[in-house]
Every structure is written in structure tokens, then in C-alpha cells.
């Protein structure tokens, strides 16, 4: 790309915007393809080949494949982490398909298959042997064994390939770089905006929009990378990183709920500004270390109301941001209507407010902040949020968050039953294995640091044959460990 360097130095990196041709149509095709693959695999598992259900499922799959090939662009299905790409279009994950995606992804990964290419002229009869092989035990050398078996079948137009590890690493680096940039820009923006509010200056709405749009794009493009950024806990910048983290987690939950891109933006905007009311509370109270007096607590409890009122001061009543106002106002309101501020009229917090409440609660509890020096473990927080109704979180939204973060979210410091120390680096994409993340082992069982941390999938057979599981989670702060350094 000519001129790329100059651009990078000028504006912090070149970005890509817009959609790709026929993206919407490919999305539909892709989701149907995965659903059909999943359906056919399930049918084959339950019934003999000649069964009507199996035949019907294979016909459906063949019809979808022909529809895609009929576009003249070929058919390449790639699995990267928990995401699928059909001809380079990333298929959008939502509530209606995340389990399907997870199951198909898991089936492919078991055989070390990173991509599938299907050629023009693929016959209906090729699917049953291919899918049956996918369902078999992968054995010691998954992909070579799979390919060997496949060569003995009549399958000629379906070509599996290994995960493009090197390419993926490169891509991962780029994605992570982009995530860093988005995150840093958002934190800077949050600082500027909230600073402007504190000083009573006009807020640059365009900057706010751009930051939220960046986060939405990042979540849609590569959710794990931006979630990884939330592990960058900076006590001094807590107020601002917290706003950005809440924005990220809210958009992540929103995506799981299948919200459209613009709705994700609306949600993200409200989440970013959810604590704007705190800017009207004296800084020495907000940032006071240690306990607060009753009066100070009373003041803190005013921030949702102040946030609502503050948002009226932007925009001079043009395009009044009602949804964002409610997110600021209701994010400490429990699902049963209690919490604060107190309601004099009947009120059920909006879905967006409930999402922000979950994201806010999760990030706040896992962070070091002025009146919480020892944060909770992320897994504990999720468990508490889900199981303790007194906390007032919407349990389904907590589950939606867990479906993205796993039981042990990225950045959780864990001790394995081998007494090795590890940091959770990725969530298991299989929804049935949310409790078995991918970790980076950072020290051996004696506490000796590993120079080049090894990534380990706790759900898979390890190279050394010694299966590990999580013994316990521990507090990185307690030992001065910065988990972000192992992830970013």
C-alpha cells in the first residue's frame, strides 16, 4: 500500500471502513450453511444414512452449497477462533447461531481443520462420508489421519486444509494492533469528553461517535482482541478505562443478543457515557481512597440522576439521546426496580440499561479503584452476578456475557492442578466448554517463569499428554502480576 507509512505516522494507522459486496447475502448463506452442516452432522449421528431425516438434511446442505457456488465466487469456509469466514466475510454471531457455530467449529478444530474449500460440481453423495469422518475420533495426528481417510472415500470436491497458523498469527498481530489503537483512542476520548464535562465545556460529539463506532467495528471484527484490551487495568485512569470497558462489554453482550450494528452503536454510546454524572461530583469524593462517609455515598448515589441531567446539556434538544440518558440513569437500578435512584413511578429498566448494569458491575468488581483495593476474581464476579439475586442483575444477560467471556474470562490468573501458573488468553469457542479456556502457562510448577509462555487449550489433549485443569483462580494484584503483559 503506497503511502501507508506516511498515513500511519500522521493519524495513528490506516483503517478500513464500509462493507463488502454482497455481504448481507453472504451472511445469510453462511449462517444457513453452518446450520445445515450442523443439522446434517446431528442427523447422521442419530440415524442411518438412508433415514429420511438424514437425506433431507443432506439435501438442504447441498442446496445451500449450490446457492453459494452459483454466485461464482467459490466457497471457502474458514474458522478462526470462534468465528467463521465465508469467502472472507465474517459471519455474524448471534443468539440464534452461536451454539451452531461453536459445534461446527469444534468438529473442525478436533481434526485441525482450519478451512474447507468446496468446488463447483460437488455431488450430494460426497457430504455423508465427509461429515461422518468429521464425527469420528481424530486420533493422534488429526489432520493427516483425516486426509488419509478422506482419500479412501468418493469425496473429491471438498478439500479441508490445516489452520493457517502462520498467517493467522500475522493476522492476529494486526488485529491486536488495531484493537490497541481503538482502545487507546477510546480511553483518550473518554478522558477528553469527561474532562470537558467536568469543566463545563462543549463535548465533541463527533469524537464520541467515532470512538464508539470503532469499538463496535472491533467487536464485530474480532471480539477476543478487544476484550483482551480490557485487561489493561490502570488505576490512575480507572474512570476512563472503566467507561471504555463497560462500552466494550456492553457491545459484546449486545452482539450476543443479535443487535444490529446501529443498535450496538446506540448501546455503546450509552455505555461509554454511563458514568458521565460522576463528572458533576467533586473529584475528591469520586477518587477518595478508602471508605466514604454517608454524605459522600449519598453524593455518589446521585450520579445516575446527574448523568441524565447532564446529557440534556449536549445537543440543545436536537436528537435527544433518550436511550443513552436511560442507560446513565438506570444502570444502578436492579431488575426488580430497587437500587438507585428510587422510583416514584412504575419503571422497568430498559434492556440496554440492564446490559450496561451487567457490564458495569463486572468491570467495576474486577478492577482496582479508589474504594476497592482488592478486586474480585472475574470468575467469582460472574458467579456472584449470576447466582445472587440480591445483586439485581439480569441473569440472562450475565449468561450472555459469560457466553462471550467464558467462565474464566480473558486475563484471569489461574493455578492449574499441575501447580503451573497461567493466564487465560482466549475463551473456548465451544459453548459447551465455556469452563475450559485456552491459557498461557507463564510459570512451571516451581514458580519459575517460562520465558516464552506456552498456549494450552484446556479442552484438548495436550502435547505432553498431561491433561491439566484449573485448580483455582488467584488475584494478580496480590502478587504484582500484570496479566495484560502476557496478552497484549
Amino acid at each position: 500500500m503506497t503511502g501507508g507509512d506516511a498515513i500511519t505516522s500522521g493519524g495513528g494507522g490506516m483503517r478500513v471502513g464500509g462493507g463488502s459486496a454482497g455481504t448481507a447475502s453472504l451472511q445469510q448463506h453462511g449462517k444457513r450453511l453452518l446450520a445445515n452442516v450442523h443439522g446434517a452432522m446431528r442427523a447422521l449421528k442419530l440415524y442411518p444414512l438412508e433415514n429420511e431425516a438424514v437425506q433431507h438434511a443432506i439435501s438442504e446442505l447441498q442446496s445451500t452449497v449450490e446457492g453459494i457456488l452459483g454466485r461464482g465466487e467459490g466457497l471457502e469456509l474458514r474458522v478462526v477462533g470462534e468465528f467463521f469466514f465465508l469467502n472472507d466475510v465474517r459471519l455474524r454471531l448471534d443468539l440464534s447461531n452461536f451454539a451452531t457455530f461453536g459445534n461446527v467449529g469444534q468438529a473442525l478444530r478436533r481434526h485441525d481443520i482450519g478451512s474447507l474449500e468446496v468446488f463447483q460440481g460437488v455431488a450430494r453423495e460426497e457430504w455423508a462420508p465427509f461429515l461422518s469422518l468429521l464425527a469420528r475420533d481424530p486420533g493422534e495426528y488429526p489432520l493427516p489421519a483425516f486426509l488419509a481417510r478422506l482419500s479412501e472415500t468418493p469425496v473429491r470436491s471438498i478439500e479441508p486444509d490445516a489452520s493457517a497458523e502462520h498467517g493467522d498469527d500475522l493476522e492476529e498481530e494486526e488485529v491486536l494492533e488495531q484493537a490497541k489503537r481503538t482502545y487507546a483512542q477510546s480511553v483518550k476520548l473518554a478522558k477528553d469528553v469527561l474532562g470537558d464535562v467536568r469543566l463545563g465545556r462543549a463535548v465533541n460529539a463527533r469524537k464520541v461517535k467515532r470512538a464508539v463506532q470503532g469499538i463496535v467495528d472491533q467487536v464485530l471484527a474480532d471480539e477476543p482482541s478487544i476484550i483482551t484490551m480490557t485487561t489493561l487495568r490502570d488505576y490512575d485512569e480507572y474512570t476512563f478505562t472503566h467507561c471504555v470497558n463497560v462500552c466494550i462489554f456492553s457491545v459484546v453482550i449486545g452482539q450476543r443478543l443479535g443487535l444490529e450494528r446501529f443498535d450496538l452503536y446506540e448501546l455503546g454510546l450509552g455505555a461509554l457515557l454511563h458514568d458521565v454524572g460522576k463528572m458533576r461530583i467533586p473529584h475528591e469524593v469520586v477518587a477518595k481512597p478508602g471508605g466514604l462517609t454517608d454524605d459522600e455515598w449519598a453524593l455518589i448515589r446521585e450520579h445516575p440522576t446527574l448523568g441524565l441531567l447532564q446529557l440534556f446539556q449536549t445537543g440543545a434538544y436536537i436528537d435527544i439521546p433518550y436511550r443513552q440518558m436511560l442507560m446513565a440513569y438506570e444502570h444502578h437500578m436492579k431488575v426488580d426496580g430497587t437500587g438507585y435512584p428510587e422510583n416514584r413511578r412504575e419503571r422497568q429498566p430498559t434492556l440496554f440499561s440492564r446490559i450496561v448494569m451487567v457490564a458495569d458491575g463486572f468491570d467495576a468488581a474486577t478492577s482496582v479503584r479508589s474504594y476497592q483495593h482488592r478486586p474480585w476474581g472475574a470468575d467469582q464476579v460472574l458467579r456472584e452476578m449470576k447466582e445472587n439475586p440480591k445483586r439485581g442483575y439480569d441473569p440472562l444477560l450475565v449468561k450472555a456475557l459469560i457466553s462471550a467471556t467464558g467462565v474464566f474470562p480473558i486475563g484471569t490468573l489461574v493455578i492449574l492442578d499441575s501447580y503451573e501458573l497461567a493466564v487465560v488468553s482466549r475463551t473456548n469457542p465451544d459453548p459447551a466448554l465455556l469452563h475450559l479456556p485456552i491459557v498461557k502457562v507463564i510459570s512451571d510448577e516451581m514458580g519459575v517463569p517460562i520465558a516464552d509462555p506456552v498456549e494450552l487449550d484446556l479442552s484438548a489433549a495436550p502435547p505432553d499428554g498431561a491433561h491439566r485443569s484449573i485448580l483455582k483462580t488467584t488475584d494478580p494484584q496480590k502478587y504484582g502480576i500484570r496479566v495484560a503483559d502476557y496478552l497484549i
Binding site: 500522521g10 463488502s20 454482497g22
Partner: protein, 574 residues
């Protein structure tokens, strides 16, 4: 160039690039952009340019998979070849793209269908003020499937990326594990005393069914998303403001009040009348509420007064009439119904002036609502120097039987304006105000026929015998013979209602008598007399009617038949 399948300038087309066609395309794009600035979307000129541009894109897809243009301040280039340049920036397509950060734009097949939206985005960006959304934000929101771009984010300049550190002090690692082993030993020896052991994994953590969303839960979440879309978020915000106004201190109330005060015109300007009505309703309840301080009550009163004044309402009505806003009729009726009595004049005037029947009906309804609530306002309107308003007030009084306002009618009965006298007369009739019947009697000789008829009917209905001599005098004169038939009927019937002792003789004479040379009265007079006799209803009157029962004149015969069937009214002596 980084991933995303976005490989610009690497097509290897080299010398085969259709440069001329792309140059023409960009020229057409510039023309279409200008056309979109000058004409609206239905204009044939604009449509012609959009079609030309779409056709050029379509034609190019047979030669190129995509069209990727690099953007500089003054030029657009295709694979290093210039396809557009502009010496000035004011009208430059390249600069329009460049100034907001675009550096590469790529059009893909299918873009031809998105041309109007793209032009709209460019137009918005061209006219954007400093605080408006720029091109990047507008493109993001437009979500054009077949248009990709690379950009530098000028807003992100000078941002430091997070730095990676060493991860922590390796000497601590051993301590972590040592602590962990120690905690394990405690658990084994049953000495775990902590109520909530820190950072310990629960058995449940390994039960994925507790964490995964099942089908019914996913369905519930889907429903929540649907509900959220239809949610009245504006109403929820207003409720929040009301809550905080009610329990806030003076400063908080001031702030909330200022917001509500700012919201009202915003709602009205956007036609969000239901929201304005909601605020108005709440304000009215606060106006007299104990919990609200005197100073706030004063502010509320002043606001409600302003909303009902002529300037505000004229603005609203004008906006509705010219179609700037199109509120739901029920919302509008509710809003207007909350206005002060002082709004009556404006609303009444508007009912006369508007040509919209729907609006007329809504305004009429609002007038009724307000009048019913505020009779003092109707009385004040009665005294209006504007005859249209005072007349309307008289009609409101009649329709709603506002007896307390009757006194104000006296002056109107002598108004120089016919409509006012007429309305006042009818109002006196509707209210049955005995003290004003004498004044009405004077209107029996009014220059206007409708007023005379109304006066006759009012007096007849009231059985106001004191007016009998005047009736007799009029019925005996030549004037009545020249009157319209409806006036004759009104006078004869009303006279019949008065129960005057001389009435039967007079009317019998008109019905059955013959004059000089045996000549009878006109059909109209005879028929009207018959109706008058019917109203008297005494045996003598019936006998007179019987005599004309087989009259040769069909008009008379018909009137006699009707008169004989009239319901007899008990006589009310006056």
C-alpha cells in the same frame, strides 16, 4: 495494505485499465453530486444523473472487479493514473473525500444501487458544520455494502498505544503457588475458615449447563430485544424527570424545570404532541401541589400561561396547517385540552380560519373542553371586542348551558354585528334567562331576518306573553305578508305558543276568513296561521283548524294536518 480481502491497486490490470471510462465515471459522479445539491430526489434532472452514473458503474463491472481510487488533496488516481483533478477546493470531489480522512475509496459491483444514498452522504458531508458528523461518521452510519474505504482518523492523532511490560516480578510467582498449596492444605485439614474463600474455583464452574443459555432463555432474550425496539424511551425519560422534580431540592427542581421548559418547544416543533401533553398534564398537577414550593409554582404558572398565549398557539396551529408537523389528532386534542382558558380566543379564531375540517373539529373539541373547565374564560371571551369571538362565546354558553355567564349576553343583544345578536339571542333561548326576554322582544323588529326569527322562537318557546302585543302588531301589519315563509312560520307559531287571548280570532281570520270580494289570504299566511293555531291547541283553535281541514289549497291542508297532530304543550303563564 492489510487484510480484509481489500487489495487495492494490485489487480495487475496495468495497461488494460479502462482509464477513459473511469475518468468519465468520476465526471458523472461530480455532475450527479451537483444535481443532488440543486434538485430534490424526484426531480427528473437528478434522476437522469443518478441513472447515468449507475449505468456507467454497471458498464464497468464487465471490465473491472472493483474500482479502487486513491485520494489525495486534489486528485483521484486509479493504479497511479490520474482520473480526476481539481485546481480549486471549494467544489473538488477529491478534497471533499480527503479532508475528512479518506485515502482510498473502492466501489464494488452492486454499488450502482447505492448511488442515491452515497450522493446523499457526500452532500451531508459537504454541508456539514463544524459540530456535525463528518464523512467518516456518515459513511459508517450509511452502511453501504458495496463501498469500502481506507482512512486516517484525524481525531486519533497523538494517541499513545498501550505498552507491554514484563508481566510482574517473577520472584512473586513462587509465592503465588506456595500460597495456593497452603490454602489447599487448610482445606484438606478442615481449617478453611474464610466465609468466602478468595479466588477458589467452584464445582459449578465446571458445569457448563449452568452458564450456557438454553433455547427458552434465548427466546426470552429475543423477545426482550423486540420489546426494547418498541419501548417508549422518551416517556421513561420524562417519568425520570418528574420523579426527580418531585423529590429534589430547590436546585434540582430548578434544573429539571429548565429542562422541561426547554423540552416543550422542542416537542412541539417536532410534532411530538403526546409528549408535550404529558409534560403539560404534569405541570398542571404541580401548579397546585402542596409539595411544590411557591416559587416553583410561580414558574410553572408562568410557563402554562405562555403556552396558552397567542404567539405559542399560533405557531403550533400554523405548523399543523402547513404540514410541518402532523400530530395524532387524539394527542393534539389532549394537549389543547390542558391549555388555559385564555387560549380560548386563539383556538376559536383558528376554528374559523382553518380550512382543515379535521383540525376544525379538534380545535372545536378543545374549546369545549376548556370552556367546560373554565367558565370565567368564556365570560371574558364574551366581552371580546372581536365580534367573531364574542359571538362564539355566546354559542359556547348556549351549548354548554353556562348560566353564570348569562349576564354578559345583555350587551350582545344590542351589538351592531348581526352574528353576535343572533348568537346572543339563541343563547338566551338556550339558557331561558327571563330577565333578558324583554331585550329579546326588541329584536322582533331587528333588521336581520335570522335575528328576528330567532327572537320569535325564543320568545315563543319561553311563552313570554309580554311580547304578545308586539307579535299581534307585526302579524297584523303588511310587513309579515312580505316576509319569507320561514319567518312567517316562526312568528305565527311562536305567537300561538304565547297563549294570547286574542290569538284564535286573529289566526282563524287569517286561515278561514275572506276579505274584500271574498278573497283569501296567501297560502303561506294561511298555512302559518294553521301552525299557530296548532300551537294554541285549545278547542276553539281546533275547531278553526277543522274548518280548514278540507281546504282546496294543498299547502293549507297539509299545514292543518300537521297542526292537528301537534303535541299540546301545557300553557305556562308569563
Amino acid at each position: 495494505m492489510t487484510g480484509d480481502g481489500f487489495s487495492i491497486g494490485e489487480g495487475g490490470l496495468g495497461a488494460t485499465l479502462p482509464l477513459d471510462e473511469v475518468q468519465n465515471l468520476v465526471v458523472t459522479l461530480g455532475k450527479a453530486l451537483r444535481a443532488s445539491q440543486l434538485y430534490d430526489e424526484n426531480n427528473p434532472v437528478y434522476k437522469r444523473f443518478v441513472k447515468a452514473l449507475s449505468d456507467e458503474f454497471t458498464a464497468l463491472w464487465s471490465e473491472m472487479d472493483e474500482i479502487a481510487l486513491h485520494v489525495s488533496e486534489d486528485t483521484l488516481t486509479l493504479d497511479g493514473e490520474e482520473v480526476y483533478s481539481s485546481a480549486t477546493r471549494s467544489d473538488s470531489l477529491a478534497f471533499l473525500l480527503y479532508k475528512d480522512g479518506l485515502r482510498v475509496v473502492q466501489f464494488e459491483p452492486g454499488f450502482e444501487r447505492q448511488v442515491p444514498r452515497f450522493l446523499d452522504v457526500l452532500n451531508q458531508a459537504r454541508h456539514a458544520r463544524e459540530d456535525d458528523d463528518d464523512l467518516l461518521t456518515l459513511l459508517w452510519e450509511a452502511e453501504l455494502d458495496c463501498f469500502q474505504y481506507r482512512y486516517v482518523d484525524l481525531l486519533a492523532e497523538g494517541i499513545d498505544l498501550p505498552e507491554v511490560g514484563l508481566g510482574g516480578d517473577p520472584s512473586e510467582f513462587g509465592q503465588v503457588l506456595e500460597d495456593a498449596r497452603a490454602e489447599d492444605d487448610e482445606v484438606v485439614s478442615g481449617e478453611a475458615a474464610a466465609e468466602q474463600p478468595p479466588a477458589t474455583v467452584s464445582q459449578d464452574d465446571f458445569n457448563p449447563t449452568l452458564y450456557a443459555l438454553d433455547a427458552s432463555e434465548m427466546e426470552e432474550l429475543r423477545r426482550s430485544v423486540e420489546l426494547e425496539r418498541d419501548r417508549d424511551v422518551r416517556g421513561a425519560v420524562l417519568d425520570a424527570l418528574f420523579d426527580r422534580f418531585e423529590d429534589g431540592d430547590a436546585e434540582r427542581r430548578d434544573e429539571v424545570f429548565d429542562i422541561l421548559q426547554g423540552l416543550l418547544p422542542a416537542f412541539m416543533a417536532r410534532g411530538e404532541i403526546s409528549a408535550a401533553a404529558r409534560v403539560l398534564k404534569q405541570m398542571r398537577s404541580y401548579e397546585t401541589a402542596q409539595v411544590v414550593s411557591e416559587s416553583h409554582q410561580e414558574r410553572i404558572t408562568s410557563l402554562l400561561d405562555r403556552l396558552s398565549d397567542i404567539e405559542t398557539l399560533s405557531q403550533l396551529i400554523e405548523a399543523i396547517e402547513v404540514g410541518t408537523i402532523d400530530p395524532d389528532p387524539r394527542d393534539l386534542a389532549a394537549f389543547l385540552g390542558f391549555l388555559r382558558g385564555d387560549a380560548l380566543g386563539v383556538l376559536v379564531r383558528a376554528t374559523f380560519d382553518t380550512e382543515s375540517l379535521d383540525l376544525k373539529r379538534i380545535l372545536g373539541g378543545a374549546v369545549e373542553t376548556i370552556a367546560r373547565r373554565d367558565s370565567d374564560a368564556v365570560r371574558r371571551l364574551l366581552a371580546s371586542p372581536d365580534p367573531a369571538l364574542s359571538g362564539a362565546a355566546a354559542r359556547i354558553i348556549a351549548d354548554q348551558r353556562i348560566e353564570s355567564a348569562a349576564g354578559g349576553l345583555r350587551d350582545l343583544l344590542t351589538s351592531e354585528h348581526t352574528d353576535v345578536r343572533l348568537a346572543a339571542t339563541e343563547a338566551v333561548g338556550a339558557l331561558g334567562v327571563p330577565t333578558l326576554l324583554g331585550n329579546v322582544g326588541e329584536l322582533l323588529r331587528d333588521p336581520d331576518v335570522d335575528v328576528r326569527i330567532a327572537a320569535a322562537r325564543v320568545l315563543g318557546e319561553a311563552g313570554y306573553r309580554a311580547a304578545a302585543p308586539v307579535f299581534r302588531d307585526i302579524l297584523s301589519s303588511r310587513t309579515i305578508r312580505n316576509a319569507e315563509r320561514r319567518e312567517k312560520i316562526a312568528f305565527f307559531e311562536s305567537y300561538g305558543r304565547l297563549g294570547d287571548a286574542e290569538a284564535v280570532d286573529l289566526l282563524d281570520k287569517y286561515l278561514n276568513g275572506r276579505g274584500f270580494l271574498g278573497r283569501r289570504e296567501s297560502s303561506d299566511i294561511r298555512a302559518s296561521s294553521a301552525l299557530g293555531l296548532g300551537r294554541i291547541g285549545t278547542p276553539e283553535a281546533m275547531m278553526a283548524l277543522d274548518r280548514a281541514h278540507r281546504d282546496d289549497d294543498a299547502v293549507v291542508r297539509s299545514a292543518v294536518t300537521r297542526a292537528l297532530q301537534m303535541e299540546r304543550r301545557p300553557e305556562v303563564p308569563r
